[in-house]
């Protein structure tokens, strides 16, 4: 299990139909984050396939596609990325759609507050990480359980021989297995503790 959150550079993608906004965004956040900007939605889709972004921001009002529609489009392939909708003005419909369809994490209105936006990006990053880790953790636990099942099956096979050597060997193996499970349990508990903070 990795625990490298603090060290990692946060990769951010910003989609807007106005060049000036893109430039401003990059100028504002280039020092902290790895900022990618994009004026065309299809470009943004390609960029997302190429890089693993932690946070994706999109303007709501764009000529061919709205921000919400864009998020809807990329969600199946990138479910864990944190989606932030940036808009100059949003009516209720847009907000509702943003939450229900685009599963937007945060909603930021223009003109943005740089500090606020920074915090949003950071927390978006953490959300992304925890989602990814959740998935990894789940996969890890699953793999471990399968491995355990395999080991138990093997031991069961050894017991079938019924010789005293075999029994003592199985006992030794079981002790090791127990040690391993306890270690994993400890590790998981620590992870859970960290998650709970």
């Amino acid at each position: 299990m990795r625990d490298n959150m603090a060290d990692e550079i946060i990769r951010v993608l910003y989609l807007d139909d106005e060049e000036a906004n893109l430039f401003s965004f990059k100028a504002a956040f280039r020092r902290e984050f790895e900022v990618h900007t994009c004026i065309e939605p299809h470009q943004a889709v390609r960029l997302m396939d190429e890089h693993e972004f932690h946070v994706v921001l999109s303007d709501q009002r764009m000529p061919r596609i709205s921000g919400v529609e864009f998020f809807e489009l990329v969600m199946p392939d990138h479910p864990d990325v944190s989606r932030v909708l940036v808009t100059g003005y949003a009516d209720t419909d847009a907000v509702v759609d943003a939450i229900n369809k685009g599963q937007v994490y945060r909603f930021v209105s223009k003109p943005w507050n740089e500090e606020e936006l920074r915090t949003v990006i950071r927390s978006g990053y953490y959300l992304n990480r925890s989602r990814v880790q959740n998935a990894e953790q789940g996969a890890e636990v699953l793999a471990m359980l399968e491995k355990l099942a395999g080991q138990v099956e093997a031991l069961d096979g050894q017991l079938a021989a019924g010789t005293p050597e075999a029994i003592s060997r199985v006992q030794q193996e079981l002790r090791n297995l127990r040690e391993g499970v306890l270690q994993e349990r400890e590790r998981y508990a620590q992870w859970m503790d960290r998650l709970g903070k």
């Binding site: 906004n21 009002r61 764009m62 100059g88 223009k110 003109p111």
Partner: protein, 731 residues
């Protein structure tokens, strides 16, 4: 008119009076006839009436003996000679009486052989009032013969008798009394009924009066008293009885016709009555033409009417005529009296004084009974009239009641309906009020919706430049700080180098390192761009705000002179990415056109509405923005002389287009092709209202699959005077 039943009250004295009358009238025939049987009558017919007395004496061959007290030779034109004998030995004061006043002429001759000793003339034709009971003195010599020559148009009834003179006079007195009594009764009846006739005005009463008068006169004639009236007017003396008989017959028939209401109950009998009337009329005519015996016989023929009337009364009775029984009884009495008279005349019945009185008594009874009947008839009429009145009254009361009920019912119904109507009316006015409220609300909603759309557009348009101005400023400050650090580092290094400080080179290297780390050239470039962004943003903000200013107040009614071109531009600007980023917008506005007096805010609303519709129409049709084309144009329309006539705004799209039905309805309030909840359907109806206020002509051309074009024509004339100044808002 009310008629009491007078007869009931006077019945007893009347009947008493009648009894007295009967007693008096009985005296008519009494007195004569004490020695009738003693007389021997022998008659000789003289058909031509030319025989002389001396010739009669020789005519022994044709002599016939007359039998009975009242020999009747019938009605004949012939004269008869009657030899009266058997008087010999009678007292000297005795006289031969021929008690028949109707005989026209009586010539009495006293003959001695063929020699006429003396003659006396009497009879109706000679009109001597003293001779009402013709009586003749006996011849002095008992050997002489006494011959009577009688001739009459009436039946030769010859009641000879031998009577003493004083008895004759007594008879005459009694007869006068009886006739006076009779006349008195008739007069009383006549007067009383005349009064009634004029009071009631009944036709039957007048004919009844005629009957009474004529019947009374007939009775006078029978007794010879008519000569008291016409004196020695011999024609009347001869014809009186026939004339009176005919008149009384006429009267009786006319009365029957009236009284029995022949036309009503027995219309078929009317013809018979007419025929009988003609018989009597013929009798009268005959009398006047000098044919008295024809007249008399016609009258006798007319006497058929007596039984005919009796039968008629029975028939009428059966047909339900309430007067008929009365008539039947009265007529029966009369008929009985007449019959008995006839029987007496023909010698079937013995001639007693009582019998002689029967006819006048019968007539009086008839008169009285008919009078009663008339009275009864009046009563019946009155009763039926009362009944009819009562019925009519009841009917009218019933009608009134029904009408009242119906009125009440009608009133109730009217009230009910009125209430219903009032209810319905108030319901309708409530509904109308609600509708108006709803409409106002919808219009307000539509206004707010377009205001909201505008606000959203403007907010978005403004927030973007504001965003990057603000963001760029922050970034620029950071860049500047870094630049300043680099500059300060370089300044420190330079001052160290200048003062030959030992760390000068070190400082320089450090500064250069800093410049490299911070990427100085990038910082400079970025700063420039940030500044450019700020300037651009400020510009754009100013532009948008400038566009907004063109609108004036959204709700303002003020007329301002505004350039349509500017208004169109401002509208497009305010629509911002709702228009420009969603479709290829091609704007072509002619320059140098005069301003238009208009409500600028409202016209902008119009333009925005139509442009947004156009954009949406292209969106529905085309996937790619590049394919969606909306053209907005403004051109001046000139007439032949090159004078500007109108300004034409057109908004053309290549969207879905509309069919004819939709095209005709787009300006109808609440008509919308958008999904429920997406549009109020008021947008274009408000647009139409605003354009109408501006006197603008609207043309819409559209075809499904090709697109739509809106043409708005603003006439130049309409702009000058501010003709729309006083108009209220249409929306």
């Amino acid at each position: 008119m009310r008629f009491g039943p007078p007869y009931g009250r006077v019945k007893v004295p009347l009947w008493a009076f009648l009894l007295m009358a009967v007693a008096a009238l009985s005296g008519c025939g009494s007195g004569s006839g004490t020695a009738v049987d003693a007389l021997v009558l022998e008659a000789v017919e003289d058909p031509s009436g030319t025989l002389r007395p001396e010739q009669v004496h020789l005519k022994q061959g044709g002599v016939e003996r007359l039998e009975g007290a009242r020999p009747n030779l019938g009605s004949t034109d012939a004269a008869y000679w009657v030899r009266v004998s058997g008087w010999q030995g009678a007292p000297r004061n005795a006289r031969v009486v021929l008690d028949n006043p109707t005989l026209d002429s009586i010539d009495v001759f006293t003959l001695n052989g063929a020699r006429v000793l003396g003659s006396v003339r009497s009879g109706a034709a000679y009109g001597n009032p003293e001779d009402l009971i013709p009586s003749f003195a006996l011849p002095l010599n008992e050997a002489h013969e006494l011959w009577f020559r009688v001739r009459s148009t009436k039946p030769l009834l010859l009641p000879f008798s031998l009577t003493q003179v004083d008895r004759v006079e007594a008879t005459r007195r009694r007869r006068d009394l009886a006739v006076a009594l009779y006349t008195g009764m008739v007069l009383a009846i006549l007067i009383y009924n005349t009064f009634l006739a004029f009071t009631t005005g009944q036709r039957a009463y007048f004919s009844y009066l005629f009957v009474v008068l004529t019947v009374g006169l007939v009775q006078w004639c029978f007794n010879g008293y008519d000569r008291l009236i016409w004196g020695d007017f011999s024609w009347m003396a001869v014809n009186g009885l026939a004339v009176m008989g005919a008149l009384s017959g006429l009267a009786a028939l006319v009365f029957a016709r009236h009284f029995l209401e022949v036309r009503r109950y027995t219309p078929r009998w009317n013809l018979m009555i007419t025929l009988l009337l003609w018989v009597y009329a013929a009798a009268l005519i005959s009398a006047f033409l000098g044919m008295p015996s024809v007249a008399y016989n016609l009258v006798n023929l007319g006497a058929l009417s007596a039984p005919a009337m009796l039968i008629l009364s029975i028939v009428s009775w059966r047909k339900g005529n309430p007067s008929a029984p009365w008539y039947f009884v009265a007529w029966s009495i009369f008929l009985v009296a007449v019959t008995m008279q006839a029987l007496r005349d023909f010698g079937v019945m013995s001639s007693t004084p009582m019998a002689a009185a029967l006819l006048p008594i019968g007539t009086v009874l008839e008169m009285l009974l008919l009078s009663f009947a008339l009275g009864n008839r009046i009563n019946v009429l009155k009763r039926s009239s009362d009944e009819a009145n009562a019925k009519a009254l009841a009917a009218s009361l019933e009608n009134e009641r029904i009408v009242k009920e119906q009125n009440a019912e009608l009133e109730a119904r009217v009230r009910e309906r009125t209430e219903d109507l009032a209810k319905a009316n108030s319901g309708l006015s409530n509904a109308l009020h609600d509708l108006q409220g709803a409409q106002d609300q919808l219009i307000q909603t539509e206004k707010l919706a377009s205001l909201g759309q505008m606000t959203a557009g403007i907010a978005h348009e403004l927030n973007n430049p504001i965003n990057y101005v603000q963001s760029n400023a922050t970034s620029l400050r950071r860049d500047l700080e870094e630049l300043i650090q680099v500059i300060e580092a370089h300044v420190a290094a330079l001052s160290g180098l200048a003062s030959d400080a030992p760390d000068g080179m070190e400082l320089l290297a450090k500064a250069q390192d800093m410049a490299r780390t911070l990427d100085l050239s990038f910082l400079i470039e970025e700063s420039r761009q940030l500044i450019q962004g700020i300037l651009d943003g400020a510009d754009r903000t100013a532009h948008i705000v400038g566009g907004l200013r063109v609108f004036g107040r959204m709700d303002g009614d003020n007329l301002v002179a505004a350039s349509l071109g500017e208004l169109l531009e401002a509208s497009i600007t305010v629509l911002g990415d709702r228009a420009r980023s969603k479709a290829k917008l091609n704007v072509d506005l002619e320059e140098g056109l005069p301003p238009l007096w208009c409500q600028s805010g409202k016209l902008s609303q119009v333009f925005m509405n139509i442009i947004v519709n156009a954009v949406q129409a292209t969106e529905s049709r085309w996937q790619d923005v590049e394919d969606r084309k909306v053209e907005v144009g403004l051109i001046g329309v000139k007439d032949g002389a090159g004078k500007l006539q109108a300004l034409k705004v057109f908004i053309r799209d290549n969207g879905t287009g509309m069919d004819e039905v939709t095209r005709q309805r787009i300006f109808d309030p609440f008509y919308t092709t958008k999904d429920v909840g997406k549009g109020t359907g008021l947008g274009l109806s408000i647009v139409k209202g605003i354009l109408d206020d501006h006197g603008a002509e609207v043309r819409v051309e559209s075809a499904v699959g090709e697109g739509t074009e809106f043409q708005l024509l603003f006439a130049i004339d309409a702009m000058k005077g501010g003709g729309t100044q006083d108009r209220n808002e249409a929306a």
